[in-house]
């Protein structure tokens, strides 16, 4: 047993290959746990309020445009696929492919946000706004309150994701990534898939139930 020899001078020590990347990935997973709790608090509040005051909710499709949002959901799911494609391209060191699929993901993500804004504008024009006093169509004020809060915070997450994707794209154009250095892309992918997953839950409980 060489006990003392194991102590390597600090400034000569390098982490084992992959450790820094593993650390970043772990960090993202841990952060996503806290994001889960954040959406849990919004969704939990929704469930409790809806159980306590079912009379304030309208039937699916009466107020919200379900077909439009279904298409929008499809758009977001597609963006998860293109994100996977981007990562696959990177693993094959296909820089062109990486950039192409990143651009596709950014476009799909922005489309999603764009459609959401369009939806908000229409709903507001129909009088469906969170300001309780002004709202008297189907459903009560809690319906609007929870709707805008949940979809709004999800939309904010998508928007942040789009900006982060643009950052990743810029770095990839600078040749920052290769098949051995996938960190930023894979971690971005984790976040993006998480946001998609949350949307599927939200779509189900806000639009379909």
């Amino acid at each position: 047993m060489t006990s003392h020899a194991a102590a390597i001078p600090m400034d000569q020590r390098r982490p084992e290959p992959g450790v820094e990347f593993y650390t970043m990935k772990l960090g993202m997973w841990i952060f996503l746990l806290s994001e889960i709790m954040f959406f849990t608090s919004l969704i939990g509040a929704y469930v409790i309020l809806r159980f306590a005051h079912p009379e304030q909710w309208a039937y699916p499709g009466e107020v919200l445009n379900v077909p439009l949002t279904a298409i929008n959901t499809f758009v977001l799911i597609c963006s998860s696929v293109t994100m996977v494609k981007a990562f696959a391209a990177l693993e094959h060191d296909d820089q062109k492919g990486l950039q192409l699929w990143l651009v596709a993901t950014i476009l799909l993500g922005s489309t999603f946000v764009g459609v959401q804004v369009y939806e908000y504008i229409h709903l507001a024009a129909d009088g469906f706004i969170p300001v309780a006093a002004n709202y008297s169509a189907e459903g009560g004020p809690l319906y609007g309150s929870t709707f805008y809060l949940m979809t709004g915070f999800h939309g904010l997450h998508v928007t942040i994701g789009v900006f982060a994707l643009i950052g990743v794209l810029i770095r990839s154009m600078g040749g920052h990534f290769n098949s051995k250095k996938v960190g930023g892309v894979e971690i971005m992918g984790l976040y993006w898939h998480f946001v998609d997953l949350v949307w599927i839950v939200l779509f189900t409980i806000v639009y379909l139930v």
């Binding site: 060489t2 006990s3 003392h4 020899a5 194991a6 102590a7 390597i8 001078p9 600090m10 400034d11 020590r13 390098r14 982490p15 450790v19 820094e20 593993y22 650390t23 772990l26 960090g27 841990i30 952060f31 746990l33 806290s34 994001e35 709790m37 954040f38 849990t40 608090s41 919004l42 939990g44 509040a45 409790i48 309020l49 306590a52 005051h53 304030q56 969170p130 300001v131 309780a132 006093a133 002004n134 009560g140 004020p141 809690l142 609007g144 309150s145 929870t146 805008y148 809060l149 915070f153």
Partner: protein
């Protein structure tokens, strides 16, 4: 492709250690990524807020002891205290801001921000946190949060006045408290602070999982690291729940949503559920790191291994797990299905079991110890004593039939302060004195340290113990003027006595402040291991350089090997190789047992 280490690469390497180039003043002291500097920044920030919180408390005690008498120093604006006489609305702000500053800007950053930053990398043998820049970000998010909270005093309507729990519907609209913008700033500030804590928690958890020195297995971690690890998990999972609630309350106030407004179909009780679903784990965030610190200091003072190390770890984990299912004990009086009340009562009382395990283990550690009465040790023993009192009064309130008469009286104020002041703050005094060398390279003065300890301990008990009594006799908390009520007038001498004790208590804190500041320059040089302790940080110089260790530490043993029979000294560093520490003196590598 040959790999040339770039600047960014270098920053990512957790073990790479020293940046050899000289850093500019700004990078070194202000926007530093060194965990020790960030720990110090948190320390100075939260000590200032502790002072502020304490000052607010003395102003409150002035009002309670001498209602309607002008303050001796009349410096407050007309809107708060015209002619030095405290207005009722301002008193509400005082109570709210005192609790808020103490919990969120003093105790929590002291325990988690200061000790988390200072101790985690040092005690696990890492050069820094996993994400040093994120670490810097989390401090510089806490600072604006503090300023926003402070600023709320000076906006129209004054600072938030609905208590640190900001119960709805009191807090949903300014028409109840007269506070509009102040309450909103309160929400925004806590949201920022919560975000800062979450980024910190991500950093701590990743660091502890990934950057432990070779040989440092989970059950060789010092209990402080264990406590901070589990605390970070609580922060990570509890803070976002509060964040959700804060946002809903903010939109209720500003955008006209109706989550908590009963008159518009909302549910004020939902706020209480969200708040306490966060709030109960929060109170463990405020005590678990303290328990870790105390375990370490008591073992060191008694020169004995921590009694029941494994059960200590399991007790921390059990407390953390239970803390998720007991939140309803804060809502016994809010209207609750009695069966649900029974469940919350039962689960709450179960928490007493792991807590008692910890207390018995501390006593077991002290038992037959070769005790050294150092200042940190005294503070830690005081923690145990006061935590027992605070824990016992907690069991009273956990029982629904007892809680009903004493809820929201000074009994609960006594309880809060026995666990938070007698508990957390004494542990913080202990920890600061104990690890001071790793912050500044010197020791705090022991004589002044002991004077501060004795004065604080006595004045503290004189101030807070009688509160149990006046609470049982019906004095409500958050009360502006007790003399307005005939049944409380006989208690007024007690209020005067408590107020005088508080002023003395407050005065003694300046001894600590002076000792703390002067010892930076005047303190005795500490050397690497002044307390003759075992864990890894004591193998680094005091204060450790950027990168902490000259050599990557390798760990061979647990953190509490005090008084091992046959050993050369009564402690063995975790990094001492197996054969080097036993008598007589061996010289390094050649030995083959």
């Amino acid at each position: 492709m040959s790999h040339v280490a770039t600047k960014t690469d270098y920053d990512l390497l957790p073990f790479a250690g020293e940046h050899h180039e000289e850093l500019s003043f700004v990078r070194k002291y202000i926007f530093s990524t060194d965990h020790k500097t960030i720990g110090k920044q948190f320390l100075f920030m939260s000590l200032l807020f502790l002072l502020l919180g304490g000052t607010l408390a003395t102003v409150m005690r002035w009002q309670l002891g001498f209602p309607g008498t002008p303050l001796p120093v009349d410096i407050l604006p007309e809107t708060m205290a015209p002619g030095g006489i405290i207005l009722p609305e301002f008193y509400n702000s005082l109570v709210t801001m005192h609790g808020t500053f103490m919990i969120f800007f003093a105790i929590m950053p002291l325990l988690v921000g200061v000790f988390g930053n200072l101790l985690i990398p040092l005690q696990i043998g890492a050069a820094d946190m996993a994400f040093p820049k994120l670490n810097m970000f989390s401090f510089w998010l806490a600072v604006p949060a503090g300023f926003i909270m402070l600023a709320s005093f000076f906006v129209e309507g004054g600072a938030a006045g609905a208590g640190w729990t900001s119960y709805a519907p009191l807090s949903t609209s300014g028409e109840f408290t007269g506070v509009y913008l102040g309450q909103q700033l309160w929400l925004i500030s806590l949201f920022l602070l919560g975000f800062s804590s979450i980024t910190g928690a991500v950093n701590y958890i990743t660091t502890i999982i990934n950057l432990r020195a070779p040989g440092l297995t989970w059950f060789r971690l010092p209990l402080t690291v264990w406590a901070l690890f589990i605390t970070a998990i609580l922060v990570l999972l509890a803070m976002p729940i509060l964040a959700g609630g804060l946002i809903m309350l903010l939109t209720d106030q500003t955008l006209g949503t109706t989550f908590f407004k009963p008159e518009l179909g909302g549910e004020p009780l939902l706020w209480q559920h969200l708040f306490w679903y966060f709030g109960h784990p929060e109170v463990y965030i405020l005590i678990l790191p303290a328990m870790g610190i105390v375990s370490e200091v008591i073992a060191n003072g008694a020169r004995k291994p921590v009694f029941g190390y494994h059960s200590m770890v399991f007790a921390i984990a059990a407390i953390a797990l239970l803390s998720w299912i007991v939140w309803g004990h804060h809502m016994f009086m809010s209207g609750m299905n009695p069966r649900l009340g029974m469940t919350f009562m039962f689960t709450t009382i179960v928490i007493a079991v792991p807590s008692a395990i910890k207390v018995f283990n501390w006593l077991g550690t002290l038992w037959k110890g070769n005790i050294h009465f150092t200042t940190p040790f005294l503070h830690s023993v005081a923690f145990v004593a006061l935590f027992i009192i605070g824990g016992l009064s907690g069991v009273f309130m956990a029982s629904t039939p007892v809680d009903i008469p004493i809820h929201d009286t000074y009994f609960i104020v006594a309880h809060i302060h026995y666990v938070l002041f007698g508990g957390s703050l004494f542990a913080i005094f202990s920890g600061i004195t104990y690890w001071y060398p790793k912050l500044f390279g010197t020791l705090m003065n022991e004589t002044w340290g002991k004077i501060h300890f004795i004065g604080t301990f006595i004045a503290y008990n004189l101030a807070f113990f009688p509160m149990h009594g006046i609470g049982l006799q019906g004095m409500m908390r958050r009360l502006y003027d007790p003399t307005l009520y005939a049944y409380l007038q006989p208690l007024q001498p007690w209020n005067v006595f408590i107020s005088y004790s508080v002023f003395v208590l407050f005065a003694f804190q300046f001894i600590f402040a002076a000792n703390f500041l002067l010892s930076i320059w005047k303190g005795k040089k500490a050397g690497p291991n002044p307390w003759r302790a075992n864990s890894i940080e004591w193998s680094a110089p005091s204060p450790p350089p950027h990168g902490n260790f000259e050599r990557m530490p390798v760990v061979y043993r647990g953190p509490y090997e005090y008084s091992v029979p046959g050993a050369r000294e009564d402690f063995i560093l975790q990094t001492d190789p197996p054969d080097s520490s036993v008598a007589p003196h061996h010289t390094s590598a050649s030995t083959s047992h």
